[in-house]
Symmetry: C2
């Protein structure tokens, strides 16, 4: 440590919002170098390398072959797949000296598809799993949380190619199992949840979420079964409609009721439709949004949902991806859309309804005239939605879509892995065919599988710290032992000698041999840095004893110097 | 190999100009993915990783600490150092979604200087050597030679910080020695030559050149001493002037002599100055170039040199860097510069002379009038150059600048490493001061040290191949043994079993178990791929024998199956 590039900080970095960011900066593992860009310092680089090595090892064990694509690529293949436009501002693009368009690739589906097209001939060349460990770049609108969401980060991306859907399912399961082994080895408590595919395309997809308060993702579990999903992917069970045949729709004067709350109050006050038990859940809220498809004109969309729920824009955008939606507010330009009084009956824009707005359900909703609402507006009779959409907020206690009795619970997590059954989106785009066993051409089907390596380091730090600092799991700690020379009377020399002995025993050792630094500061730094065990070479050295401390349990034991290697390797084993 | 992503090619790739490029593509190590961008395939990635591991190991052994900076960086620090402008079109720049200027960093002097400024306090924190292994991007005007000059490549860059010039010299020597160990371990025959510093700035600098016909760099050696230099850095010994005092300058009619050859002919014909032994070396050629300093107006520069030599634009540009020079040809715009008849006497633009144009030397040169030349134009009497410039071509047989008797020899090489004593250019730019031992501020001095890792793979392939394919040095081969199942009668199973045995013995094994591939094709592929030893499992397997082949020497020996591991590990040791 007397020569290590390290300066621990006592103060919280001003820009750090989350514990992992604060601690990784304070303990000298990373340092901000650019907006959303971090420099890995020597201790941090050791941790990142260990995480990377675990991932590489498990990818090889799962039959993966390592390749490495360029990060800077010409526009054409991404134009062919449509992603140049779909990703829009989210990717970095540039022109080279000849004016040719390039991008810093977000992932490499296009390139790996082209490679497989060039390098394979027949069914004998399949199945294939290719992976790479690569720095990725994304022009994040809001980089946050240090390593959690950066503009430059290290990623493991893998791609599987199979000739049958069953083969894809098998590759997917193999990668899923590898991911669970990886995250277990990294000490990450995680949940696998159903996910949406987003701009990646494809069908089935699951996310690996590390439980963490600071996570950007919200996911649900079930009180009764093992259902788990990202809130973006939660499906809503359609109600069984047992309502009696509703009377004919009736329009009522409902002045000054532009909100659901004011409408419910007035409806009960005036006993609309003869009822005084109206609740927000009996009303149909109609929300208008502007949908922007990449490279197309914006279009309006109305979403109908029970009045006790809001539209969750994150869920809506997940459904619409690669298009994006924003709330519409230019009602002056559309007199047919009467703000606060919109109803689905006769609406002139595309109308999608929440699954709860099932055929046969009757609603209190807008009458498309200022100050008027209608009762007994029945789905399938008075209006027919253009389709169903999952865009309503999910709440704890909502019914589970996978079992009869369960209720949803909600937690927050960090997305550390994402696996997709892509299917043939990319092999179709590039018209990849190989010779099948029967002599006819076959089009391969793909999976893709990503792990954020730098983000995983942050997730580990989120799950493994206490109020004194980081507490690294042994498998990825920057060293196995932290030796602290507590005093000056030959203790520095003894610490260095002990370090050499432990190194020879195969342990990775950090020795705090700093002169002019007090024992107290050294202890504080050791706890901040978080190496699993430290050995304090202090006053009792003269009697032949040192103290071995466990970072996590805070246990301390006096050990004869000669036994230290044995004690630590025994514990490590 | 039945599952490996590999398709060897019999034909030469159309775009491959050099042996390493041809062989690395044909043998399935790399594949072109973009202009100047290559994908590393599984075999190639193994080699690149081994090269990288050797470099990393030696950097640690030399006291280096590994860090990792972002590649995508904001403009400001590079503006402060001046490199944003100096590099011009040679770097990739882009704007992020907020319109802020960024670059893909060519190297990280700015960032490492800022990091050291933030992370150090006093003399106790020095010396420091930091290094990283990183993908770099450069907008090469002419990517060529496959991995030799790409737009995206892997590089090891290191930076040393010391408080004294002696400290810098010591760090420089330590890195120099580490580089020699690295290149020896990689099996690269190389020469260390004096070099110019180019846009990097700084004083002393040396290049490590791997001897190769296809190299872009020309370097000189000496027949008598150990002088070695890149031609760009060769200095010209100034002649000892022993000419008698020359008569006064005289102007002569020399119609139709716009070239040196026509001038020499006419001078001898007409016995100008009473001589008939004129040669081109007696004439003074004056070449006008346009010099473009980054961010400034272009300026004209005249270069005077003996008429038997041309200006070497590569040498000139090395001297002028970061400015660049092109030949001036718009003589119509400058009537004072009489094309073909320019002389240095009274010239109105900046005039720099070759060292051979020493004070006291007399020349036959232009008289600045159409059709007229002057004799006895004496340097220091009739004209005084604004300075000396090294821009004339270097030729084999030129006198050595380092000894009295030696003559220069010339070879071509690939630049695989470059080390610089930078000095305080960057610590001055960012005003980095630390507390010295005497309590006063000290400004650190820097060195920087680069190795092109992907280029090193190409250089190794250039030096280690024959007409059958690649011949990898054992230390970086993609495997230790290549087992070929030559037939079908249980030989594939035996090959796989032998492979498992050798793996357990610690060897890295590639087994050619491909069905439906003939023994001949397998042998050809084994020679193309170039693993140091192969084991042929063939007909004599039934008698308990296999054949061990040495790729380099082509020696073959029959070995009992049970002895293979022993034979190969003995040879490998």
């Amino acid at each position: 440590m007397s020569t290590l590039l390290l300066k621990t900080l006592r103060e919280e970095p001003a820009d750090a919002e989350v514990p992992s960011h604060r601690l990784l900066v304070r303990a000298g593992f990373v340092r901000r170098a650019a907006p959303g860009g971090y420099t890995w310092l020597p201790l941090g680089k050791l941790v990142l390398d260990r995480v990377t090595a675990v991932v590489q090892e498990e990818m090889f064990a799962a039959g993966g072959q390592e390749v490495s694509f360029p990060a800077l690529l010409p526009r054409e293949p991404y134009e062919t797949s449509g992603r140049w436009t779909e990703y829009g501002d989210d990717i970095f693009t540039l022109k080279d000296r000849r004016g040719a368009d390039h991008l810093l690739a977000p992932t490499h589906e296009e390139m790996v598809t082209l490679l497989v097209q060039e390098m394979t001939v027949s069914y004998r060349d399949f199945p294939l799993i290719l992976f790479q460990l690569q720095t990725k770049f994304r022009d994040e609108a809001r980089p946050r949380g240090g390593l959690l969401r950066g503009r430059e980060f290290l990623m493991k991306d893998a791609y599987s190619f199979d000739l049958t859907d069953a083969g894809l399912a098998e590759a997917y399961e193999r990668m899923r199992a590898a991911y669970q082994r990886i995250f277990n080895r990294l000490g990450l408590e995680h949940t696998v949840v159903a996910a949406t595919s987003g701009a990646m395309g494809g069908s089935a997809s699951e996310e690996f979420l590390a439980a963490a308060e600071v996570g950007e993702d919200t996911y649900v579990g079930c009180t009764a079964c093992d259902y788990a999903a990202n809130t973006e992917a939660v499906t809503t069970p359609a109600p069984t409609v047992r309502q009696p045949a509703a009377p004919a729709m009736a329009v009522h004067d409902t002045p000054d009721t532009p909100t659901i709350a004011s409408l419910v109050d007035l409806a009960n006050e005036r006993a609309l439709g003869g009822r005084t038990d109206w609740t927000a859940a009996d009303t149909l809220k109609n929300v208008v949004v502007t949908v922007q498809h990449p490279g197309r004109e914006p279009e309006l969309l109305a979403i109908g949902l029970p009045g006790d729920r809001d539209v969750d824009l994150k869920r809506l955008n997940a459904v619409l991806a690669p298009a994006t939606a924003t709330l519409f507010d230019d009602f002056a330009s559309r007199p047919d859309l009467v703000k606060g009084y919109i109803g689905p009956q006769g609406i002139k824009i595309r109308y999608l309804a929440d699954p709860r707005v099932a055929i046969g359900t009757a609603w209190l909703t807008g009458a498309n005239q200022p100050g008027k609402h209608a009762t007994d507006v029945v789905a399938g009779r008075d209006f027919t939605p253009d389709g169903v959409i999952e865009a309503a907020e999910v709440r704890p206690g909502d019914p589970c879509p996978a079992c009869d009795d369960g209720r949803l619970t909600m937690r927050r997590g960090i997305e550390i892995g994402h696996i997709f059954q892509l299917g043939r989106r990319y092999t179709d785009a590039f018209k990849v065919d190989v010779l099948g066993a029967d002599g006819k051409p076959v089009r391969p089907t793909m999976g893709c599988y990503g792990i954020g390596l730098s983000r995983a380091v942050a997730a580990i730090a989120e799950q493994h710290h206490d109020d004194r600092g980081l507490v690294w799991p042994a498998a990825i700690a920057p060293a196995d032992v932290h030796i602290v020379a507590a005093g000056k009377d030959g203790q520095v020399e003894a610490a260095l000698m002990l370090g050499a002995t432990l190194s020879r025993a195969g342990l990775r050792v950090l020795v705090d041999d700093r002169p002019n630094v007090s024992a107290g500061v050294k202890f504080t730094d050791a706890e901040l840095i978080g190496i699993p065990r430290s050995v304090v070479v202090g006053r009792r050295l003269s009697e032949g004893y040192v103290e071995v401390r466990d970072r996590r349990s805070q246990e301390r034991q006096e050990v004869p110097v000669a036994d230290v290697a044995g004690v630590i390797t025994a514990e490590a084993g």
